[in-house]
């Protein structure tokens, strides 16, 4: 008698595992749903031109979110990325417009575009390293440490130009620093350069996270820092590295944004950090660390991107857009909790 009831119960569990699968793929399903919705509601939504525009918008947030995902996987957070976008853009813009001025030698060096890019990336990575050192060696909580660098980097960006914009960053032939706008506006085989950068970074980041010892250690640090340390993982190094990755990604975005505008503005990148966190969380990354996938983050960034651009095309007001974006993020986290509870139930035994 009881055997029949028990097997009926396991039938119900079949439904449950189907539900579990749906919940697991929820971000992907949400992306499809959002796309279909706008395809029906917004005129001209489905077109190659629009897909390219959306991808360019998404690339900016997604690249930041890749670095953010690494930091969050270790149980940290990086609030400084938006300011790093601003500062690295200003560094690049300043070098292109006014060169590297060395008053005591009385000379001005104009680095070429490649050198400018390298310097900007170095600056971003170095700020990441400072974040990492603050968090590990000085024991400052990640939220506070990166909140501090958020202000410092933003202030530095404003100081570089006294608050004004470096504009018309096309370079001069006689200085040999032309070609900067290609990063933001160039195309290769019809695909924008910024989207290509995203694809390369995403593939590398996903590979590193899943298939390298470094990636495994990142997950280990986020899962149980003490156990990881006792297993010989150099926790501090891993943490410093993820903040450096995040700073690097922010510098890449700083270059893309200033190149797209052919100008660098010191306020550029404000609140970008929040969008990056939102993309990671939407993609299933747990803020307590140890759980999340680069692929999920990319899909999360696309959900946000399609949502904002679609709403714009539908003519929905910017204020409503914010409300909707917020609700989507909350829904994502609620579903995440539901999935974890179901998964925990179905594997107890």
């Amino acid at each position: 008698m009881s055997a029949a009831t028990v097997s009926a119960k396991s039938g119900a569990n079949g439904n449950q595992s189907a539900l579990l699968l749906v919940l697991k793929l929820r971000t992907f399903i949400a992306l499809i749903a959002v796309t279909l919705f706008f395809a029906l509601m917004a005129p001209n939504f489905v077109s190659v031109a629009n897909a390219i525009i959306i991808s360019k918008h998404v690339a900016i947030n997604a690249i930041l979110a890749i670095g953010m995902t690494y930091v969050i996987l270790t149980g940290g957070i990086d609030l400084s990325v938006g300011s790093i976008v601003g500062l690295t853009g200003m560094v690049a813009g300043g070098l292109l417009a006014h060169g590297l001025q060395l008053p005591m030698l009385g000379i001005i060096i104009y680095p070429n575009v490649l050198e400018v890019i390298c310097i900007a990336l170095l600056v971003g990575t170095a700020i990441g390293a400072i974040n990492g050192l603050l968090v590990t060696k000085l024991g400052v909580a990640p939220f506070i440490a990166t909140l501090g660098t958020l202000y410092v980097a933003r202030g530095a960006a404003l100081l570089l130009s006294g608050g004004s914009t470096f504009s018309n960053l096309v370079g001069k032939e006689e200085l040999g620093n032309q070609g900067y706008p290609i990063i933001g506006s160039g195309n290769v085989l019809g695909i924008p350069v910024s989207v290509l950068i995203l694809i390369v970074l995403a593939l590398v980041a996903a590979y590193v996270a899943q298939r390298t010892p470094f990636g495994r250690k990142v997950y280990a640090v986020g899962g149980n820092e003490r156990a990881a340390a006792l297993s010989g993982v150099r926790v501090d190094r891993i943490k410093i590295a993820v903040y450096m990755i995040s700073g690097f990604c922010a510098a890449v975005v700083g270059l893309i944004v200033s190149s797209q505008l052919v100008a660098s503005h010191p306020a550029s990148g404000e609140t970008f950090e929040l969008n990056a966190i939102a993309a990671a969380v939407l993609g299933g990354t747990s803020l307590s660390g140890g759980r999340g996938l680069i692929g999920g983050t990319i899909i999360g960034a696309f959900v946000i991107g399609v949502l904002s651009d679609g709403l714009v095309m539908m003519g929905v007001s910017e204020f409503w857009q914010m409300v909707i974006k917020g609700l989507v993020i909350i829904a994502a986290v609620v579903l995440d909790q539901l999935q974890r509870r179901l998964a925990a139930n179905s594997r107890q035994g």
Partner: protein, 506 residues
Amino acid sequence: MSEVVLSARGMTKAFPGTLALNEVDFDVHAGAVNVLIGENGAGKSTLMKILAGVEQPTLGTMTMAGETVSFGSIRDAGKHGIGIVFQELNLCPNLSVTENIFLGRDITRAGFHIDRAAQRARAAELIGRLEHDIDPDALVGDLMIGEQQIVEIAKALAEDARILIMDEPTSALSASEVEVLFKVIGELKRSGVAIIYISHRLEELIRIGDYFTVLRDGKLAATAPRADVTIPWIIEKMLGAGEVVAKRPPAIAAGAAILTVDNLSLPGRGHGLALDDVSVSFRTGEITAIYGLLGAGRTELFESLYGLRRNAKGSVRLDGAELGGHSITSRMKAGLLLVPEDRQRDGLLQNLSVGGNLGIASLRRFTKFFSISKAEEAPLLKQVIDQLRIKTAGPDAPITSLSGGNQQKVVIGKSLLTEPRVLLLDEPSRGIDIGAKAEVFSTMRDLADQGLCVVYTTSDLKETHAVADRILVMAYGRITADLRADEATDEALVRASTYKLEQSAA
């Protein structure tokens, strides 16, 4: 026969793919110790969780005083007078002892103002009843595991429970603390409290048990009152048959000293020394047991050897090379490895798979061109899973799907994959059943026979004899006895473990 306060009939709990409990009947007698025994995965924990309201049965009924009851939550069970002391501690490390004891049911004035003085006095009284002198204002996070267990028991006592479930309460306690606990249990029995007692330590169960219930594979294997129960009977019902732990003679003679400790000292918490000028050496091919009471300095010794205690002074040499000032990672590379005592906190990565946990300390072994080679990783994982007989669906199964004993084996397996030369195991048998224990000990023997130096700590006298070739006793941060296993009597070990007490008494 004493009165039955709670009677469970036909308890069944189904999980996808398995029946954790299959029509089990269980009676709880008032004023008695109701023992629940079984191997890991036999269903004890599930039954206990149902009784405590943590989980709900798929089928089955529970009656109390003639009425059918069901518990939707742990609070629900609490209202029916059922309290529980979990095996894995459920305390907030950031709160004080008193705050933990009264968590969720503060003594208040006017319904909102916490009466700190009353709580503190009551907490001190409860701890006093357990014959401990833990400061009620101390932070729980600063206490040793054994002390935390005492707080956990005090917390359950504070509820005036009529039925008290204890899940392996002695697993972290030393012999003298166990005596204190048994005294408390005796007192509770006399006041009519029914105790449901779960433990792997058979001699303990025989001592204090009144009614025995043995589970095997989710089914009721046997039930009997104390008078009809012997240790062989329990083992037979649990396993079907078999020996607890068979001691094998070492295959090779102990070799040269590999790990040498000279004048190692470590300041204690607050006052005194946690380690007081310890000098000792360990040889290859030899298994050394370190016996001692809680706070004797065993864990501190291991942690100092492993580089976790920065303020330890003295010399630690592995194969003649000084390890002082080196990081954990470089000590691991040199071949020294620690298997920590608290596997939930220090051993497991809950977010990774079984394979991810096993491999994390030895990624170097299967890394090719900066990436993890699945082809190189898989056979190594399979080998260690087979070697330790880890019961798992495979290396990709989540670590949380394993039973406690198998999780412990994963922590040990992780260490083995690093190919250590000296293996330090802190309480390797804590919280695992006889079968798993025998496998762990037999693995230790195998490793020593392969020329490893194996050192483990234990609070269980039986376990000191189980595999060790040599037994050290620690007390108050010093080594008070160093004996060959065949010369060590229980009396000598116990005497050495209370060395300082005797001195001061004299």
